[in-house]
């Protein structure tokens, strides 16, 4: 009976977070900018004007740079699954196989055909077919993201499956339930819509830079108009999908919701924290105030979580210690059931090894009674079920605050763009330049909320991260952590350098 090395777990987590966050630098820009390129080219095809063609080709070049540098960086995550997270990888293989295979096939055919037409096809295929290819790249890239997000959504809300102790795998029972789970849909729509916003901010940022430098003024103004409209629609869409995401969290991951609102003691008519500073000393179960300072909008959290302002929203303490009045079973009770499930699973294993079929069947029958609580059996104390509240809370509020800022940017750019006075607004243009970097921070923050907020679970309620790892040396993970940090930093520097060079050249550099 070896103890699992906690250092290994945390280094494996850190490595996964590092590689996922680097990968996510490239992906949202690909998802968002691909649609903007499609819009730009549609205008070109509709108007036939050369300036729109030059503009399209310029943004397409920047899209290509980002795509080329970012391509395959996500594969490293799959390497890590096999090496660092082999228990997890084995257990979810049956669930993840189908979505990831579809993703691979879609990506291959997309990239081999339409992507090539998009870049090699100018003047060599018809305008209509070229435009069709550009749209297919945009749609295909986003559909490709669907399958990854379905897999992620399943980890956050495991559905359409059954655990098979014989194969030690979660086996898919209903593909459509996995695909259309409310978490998967909310995750896909919120992730893609936020990426559209990132794409819009990218175009606004570079166009603002040109306006500040008084270069490529007409191209910049045209780009801004399209990006501001697209950004404004994306802003509305991201708000709706964010609301849907929080609504599904209230039912599927109430602990995450409590963490990103800093809500320790649940309440009816709960308000949402518009701004707050958490008390760093606060822990689950103590009597300290959760906030040093907070400004709340009354009733809104109850409404967003349950669509009713009178409804009860459970806090961290309600979920950890239970709340009989509200019918909430505490983690301590779930742990007791989980430990029964774990003991029955161990008895099943031992009986199987000893060839005692009757005992194995009996243990299996008992295991099935409590198997939904299996994950809780691995926790040592109820407080282990609490994610890092500070990180989740601040990441969530940074994301929301910045999203509102992007709404302001889009409205301002659209109004001044329509009035054709945007280049005179010298106070606004630096904010526009800054907006892309803020968009990247918001996008990363979103993933911090999603992933840190669901700790300690690799698979919600079923498998904590500590049990999901491989039994390998911590030194290996530390070594590869720094190798990845170096490799990705080099790639990022290459992207920035090539991108900046191309931006300095402008559309004439085509």
């Amino acid at each position: 009976m070896n103890e699992i090395d906690l250092g290994l777990v945390n280094w494996s987590r850190a490595q996964f977070a590092l590689t996922a966050m680097y990968h996510w630098i490239f992906v949202p820009l690909t998802l968002g900018l691909s649609f903007l390129c499609a819009f730009f080219e549609s205008i070109y095809v509709k108007t036939g004007k050369q300036e729109w063609r030059d503009l399209t080709r310029f943004w397409m070049t920047l899209f290509g740079i980002n795509f080329a540098i970012g391509v395959a960086t996500g594969i490293i995550l799959e390497f890590e699954f096999g090496t660092n997270w082999s228990n997890y990888s084995w257990m979810v293989g049956d669930i993840f196989g189908a979505p990831l295979a579809i993703e691979g096939i879609v990506a291959f055919f997309l990239e081999a055909t339409f992507f090539a037409v998009m870049f090699f096809g100018w003047d060599r295929v018809s305008k209509g077919f070229h435009l069709f290819s550009t749209w297919m790249v945009a749609i295909g890239s986003n559909l490709s993201a669907l399958w990854i997000l379905v897999a992620n959504g399943w980890m956050q809300f495991p559905t359409g499956m059954a655990f098979n102790p014989e194969s030690v795998r979660f086996e898919m029972q209903n593909f459509w339930e996995v695909l259309f789970s409310p978490v998967a849909i909310a995750k896909f729509t919120h992730t893609t819509s936020s990426s559209f916003l990132v794409g819009a901010m990218f175009v606004i940022a570079i166009s603002s830079y040109y306006l500040l430098k008084r270069r490529h003024v007409e191209m910049a103004k045209k780009s801004i108009l399209v990006a501001a409209v697209f950004g404004l629609f994306s802003f509305a869409y991201v708000g709706l999908t964010g609301d849907e995401s929080a609504y599904s969290n209230a039912y599927t991951q109430p602990m995450k919701l409590a963490a990103y609102e800093g809500l320790y003691d649940g309440e009816r008519k709960a308000g949402i924290v518009a701004f707050g500073i958490l008390n760093p000393e606060k822990k689950a179960g103590d009597d300290k105030d959760a906030f040093l300072f907070d400004l709340k909008i009354p009733y809104l959290l109850s409404f967003l979580a349950n669509r009713s302002i009178d409804s009860f929203v459970p806090g961290v303490n309600d979920i950890v210690y239970g709340n009989k009045d509200e019918g909430i079973v505490g983690v301590d009770e779930k742990m007791a059931l989980g430990k029964l499930a774990l003991a029955d699973l161990t008895a099943y294993k031992d009986a199987q090894k000893g060839g005692d079929t009757a005992a194995a069947d009996s243990a299996l029958a008992k295991f099935k009674v409590n198997q939904d609580y299996l994950g809780y059996g691995y926790l040592n104390k109820p407080e282990d079920a609490v994610p890092p509240v500070q990180t989740t809370f601040y990441a969530f509020h940074i994301m929301v605050f910045l999203a509102v800022f992007f709404g302001f940017i889009c409205v301002a750019y659209l109004v001044y763009g329509v009035k054709d006075t945007i280049e005179e607004k010298r106070w606004l243009l630096p904010l526009g330049v800054l907006s892309f970097f803020l968009a990247m921070i918001a996008s990363q923050s979103g993933w911090v909320v999603a992933e840190v907020g669901r700790q300690p679970w690799a698979i919600q309620d079923m498998l904590p991260v500590g049990v999901a790892t491989s039994n390998i040396g911590t030194g290996n993970v530390i070594t590869t952590f720094w190798m990845f940090a170096g490799l990705f930093t080099l790639l990022l520097l290459a992207e920035i350098k090539i991108m900046l060079r191309q931006i300095k050249k402008g559309p004439e550099g085509e």
């Binding site: 540098i69 096999g82 030690v168 991260v465």
Partner: protein, 96 residues
Amino acid sequence: MISQRYSYDVRQKKDVGEERVMDWIPGRVFRFYRDGFRSMTLGKTLWKIILVKLFIMFAVLKVFFFPDFLSTQFDTDKQRADHVMEQITLPAPNQN
């Protein structure tokens, strides 16, 4: 005689037709990609980066640092399943 000449002509005609078809689809696709790659400017740099990156990822990192743990340690799925079962029935440390 007539019959032989007739069949010969038909075969010849068919071969020419196939060549045209080959030229029409695969040939054009080949030339499309070939000319596209040849005309690249910035793309050449990007392809170099992609190839170096893929080499590092698959020929170095995957081979030397990221072996598939279960595939390299065990020969059969039964052994892998047994190993994972052993692992998940171990007591775990604090999760946070």
